[in-house]
Amino acid sequence: MQITQDLLQALPKHIVIHGDEMTRPFECDGLSMYRQKPLAVVLAENIDQIKTVIELCKIHNTPIVTRGAGTGLAGGALPLENSVVLGLSKLNKIKAVDPEARTAVVEPGVRNIAISEAVAQHNLYYAPDPSSQIACTIGGNVAENSGGVHCLKYGLTVHNVISINMLTIDGEEVTLHRDDDGIGLLALMNGSEGLLGIITEVTVKLTPKPERVQLVMAGFDDVRVCADTVSNIIKAGIIPAGLEMMDQFAIGAAEDFTHAGYPRDAKALLLCELDGDEQSVEQELTKLLALFSTASTVKVATTEQERLTLWQGRKSAFPSVGRLSPDYYCMDGTIPRHYLADVLEKITHFSAHYKLRVANVFHAGDGNLHPLILYDASVDGDIEKAEALGTEILKLCVDVGGSITGEHGVGIEKLNAMCHQFTADELDVFHQIKDAFDYSGLLNPGKAIPTLHRCAELGSMHVHNNELPHPELERF
């Protein structure tokens, strides 16, 4: 292809990857269900090279898919047909740290955890911590507005980014700042999934390490009691730094990998982390332990090592479940917290109906569910069943007032579900917003926002407010 020749001519050879054999490992990201080989992959080493890629892609009318570490779970970095993948993993320098102002300026390919490691000496850290934080990049975090286990208290990526530099489709450098007067362009860029611009630099907010961090694990014999405890914790005026729930299936899987000491016979488990100054943590701990009186096991982490081991089980839970099944499909719906027990019960029913196992590992404090649907792609019809089950779960989330994605993004995976959450008019606005930034439609086109045509064909256009699916569930 001409574009590949032009890229090879304009850029150093070692950063342009082309040909079937070499581009194949880039054909998918963390969601390997969907695959598409790009024409070429460019691993840019500086901003000028990115500009060159944009320029050449515009000349050849070739879509650009920006990629960080390729850990996304919604196919946001899935290459498009005849596209060029722009990899930013080589841009991995931490450019500046200002311990006084509590900020760090980093290139987009810097790994999430590398920021925290670099600023640890100043007793600071970068708060958002997606499970893939050891590998995922900050550019990808901004593109997906990544969450993590600690965003109940410390917010999502959008709350922890102070400014970004981005390149427009015309190769113009634009700085967007949190304190900009007028509309929130920076907020808009968070979670825009590579459709609006290419992020070239991120200034993040750093958070002081709390004086004390206290993790408590509680196992419950009953899922409903566990779910209700989640609401009771918030009701009691506590905002834990993290509040995670796992069901029995997930507990077993995580325990097999980490040997963290999770109670295998518990039906559900909570990991609740308190942080702050010594006194407030102690007060909240007393309150929390009282709320955990309904638990069958309670374990208060006594050492930092114990705390990390307990967290490791949770953070490795997804891939650990992968040991139990050839394939799994990870959902990411959010619901108002007080529906937790009802929704989990419904998911159990769906699981029985479709005869597919579902493991639940999720951010209970945010009402952000991660049902993992286990299936075997080599069994005929299993993929379709898994997708149907997933759709049911996401519809349920929307129906109780939640969302089809809390932190993984829409990517390619949830395009159909978007039709359920938004009206044609709303989707029209989204498409126009893309046009406002990218009139050429070359930045990751087709991701994140479904075409109206697709939704119409799907026939599952947004359910209007006057219809109430699942009338058995109590509402506001």
């Binding site: 054999e21 390997s32 390729g70 850990t71 050891i134 997804f318 891939p319 992968g322 792609a377 080599s378």
Partner: protein, 391 residues
Amino acid sequence: MQTKLPKALANTAHGKKAADILSSCVHCGFCLATCPTYQLTGNELDSPRGRIYLIKSALEDNQFSPSSIKHLDRCLTCRSCETTCPSGVKYSELVGIGRELIENKRPIWQKVARYGLRQFLSKPALVNLTKPFTQHSAIQSPVIERLATKGRVLLLTGCVQPTLTPNTNHTTKNVLTTLGYQVEQTSQQSCCGALDHHTSASTTALIKIKDNLDKWLALIESGLEMIISTASGCGVMVKDYPTLFETDDAYYQKAITISKHTKDIAEFLVEQDLSSLPKKKVKIAYHAPCTLQHGQKLPNLVEGLLTKLGYELTPITDSHLCCGSAGTYSIFEPSTSKQLRDNKVENLTQSQPELIVTSNIGCQLHISKGTGIPVKHWIELLDCSAALMEV
């Protein structure tokens, strides 16, 4: 990850194993973070996930050109990715399969170079000739002799260790003798097979390995308590013998028995009463070899042992990363190897240690080329006879 191997391959033992390993990978990408080569290049193709994909493609479509070989050769087989992988992907076994696959496709000059190196290193007579130029350190204390009060153990002396760092085996013998063990030694000829295995000469490796298995099994049957390795590279090879045989092979069970009877010297000592051993006040930096922490899955073992013995260990940044030695890697991939060594030396010397110690001869020799600080096997710290002489 969904994998579709061609029928002919899918039905072979190799194919089944590969398909199993590939399906356990969920493509999460966690392994990118701890892969030393990905950290240097930022290229998916130089990451475990990328290499798994290259091997997958090769198995599915038989598409494998020198470009793929380049990226596979760049893998250190440090197995850091295995430690990080939450899905339990047996990466090194898959890479083993991949390496066999590429061997036929290698350019002829590469084949010759590899053959030559293999022949040289595994022939003690040849290696010994180089002693005047290559010896790293000499024996530094007298031999201890004492009547055995405990069992018999077999010390794996290694093929190059007796020539280049003889003091390691010597001290180990002294320590074990002091503790009351009767120490037997393998001959310098009986290599563990790692060298051949890692340069893709699996047939040669298997002949040596079968020979070892028969000899050592006879010793165990006659009451040998344990096989002890002082080079974690050899240790991991012996412990992994079972992965080299099909389960219905007669040697599979033998390999399991030998694997169970093999311990790294630290693993063996940690269960012993070490109060009779000397303690010296030196500030040391310990380099954990990949073959020990990732391969044998024994992280923090030596660190714990040395701390217990009273040594002050300096904290090491990125202690999970490879030093770049990685068997014959330093010979075939010199530039990556050197870059990794420079990074490693910087991290090891950050807190100005008086001494750097490690658990594997490969790392020891490689690191010492990059620093003026002496690099030893940690067991040399416990030289009882030296301590006796001091008193």
